[in-house]
């Protein structure tokens, strides 16, 4: 049973554009929702995270939007840059280990 569904699987965006990645979860016990960024040959690294008591969190060009009633959250990357090209994973946690989505490969063309 896949508890966190992520889309799209891959995404191509022009430099300066907005990248949007969506995730949906099923377990209402989840109370922490991080996004991880992974470059080839490296382990994932925390990018930004949100708790369900807020609807949006912004850090620089990265924003998480959270819709508790719909059990959905999304990552927006503003002014996307070639250096943002990586694989992005959403995740959810309910007091134990992280449950990850299957990942989105983002390619930002210059």
């Amino acid at each position: 049973q896949q508890q966190v569904k992520q889309s799209p699987q891959s995404l191509i965006v022009q430099k300066g554009g907005i990248s949007i990645i969506n995730c949906a979860y099923e377990n209402t016990a989840f109370d922490y929702f991080p996004w991880y960024q992974q470059f080839p040959g490296k382990g994932p690294a925390l990018l930004i995270a949100i708790r369900p008591d807020v609807s949006e969190k912004k850090e620089g060009r990265f924003t998480i939007s959270f819709n508790k009633s719909a059990k959905q959250f999304s990552l927006h990357i503003m002014d996307s840059q070639p250096g943002d090209s990586a694989t992005y994973f959403c995740a959810a946690e309910g007091g134990t280990a992280l449950i990850f989505g299957k990942g989105t490969t983002l390619s930002v063309s210059s």
């Binding site: 992520q6 994932p44 925390l46 995740a91 134990t96 280990a97 299957k102």
Partner: protein, 115 residues
């Protein structure tokens, strides 16, 4: 400071052989996790350790997989009688504690190839 380290970085083994993968967590982190990353499948939780508590083994895919953590620090993931479907990148992560929104810091992974 030093991050999470894993060894070896790459491991090629023949089907049926046993392998051991090592993880050195960040000093002071009481929680240690193992995940498996297969192509197109995201990161799959395998097992976690929290301090001296019994590990949560709920993600281990079969009894061929086991892990231990000695002295609350270094951990070893063992796969017995390896199968081709075990080929994947095995990632280790550590955090100050389990859950609670504590950031998990990942190592670079061990790429396992079973021929």
């Amino acid at each position: 400071g030093a991050g999470v380290s894993q060894s070896p970085s790459n491991k090629v083994t023949e089907k049926g052989k046993d392998v051991e993968l090592r993880c050195d967590p960040i000093s002071g982190h009481t929680a240690l996790y193992w995940y498996r990353q297969s192509l197109g499948q995201g990161l799959e939780f395998l097992i976690y350790f929290q301090g001296n508590s019994a590990p949560d083994k709920s993600g281990l895919p079969s009894d061929r997989f086991s892990a231990e953590r000695t002295g609350g620090s270094v951990s070893t993931l063992t796969i017995q009688r390896t199968q081709q479907e075990d080929s994947a990148v095995y990632l280790c992560a550590s955090s100050l504690a389990v859950g609670g929104g504590y950031e998990q810091y990942f190592g670079p992974g061990t790429r396992l190839t079973v021929t």
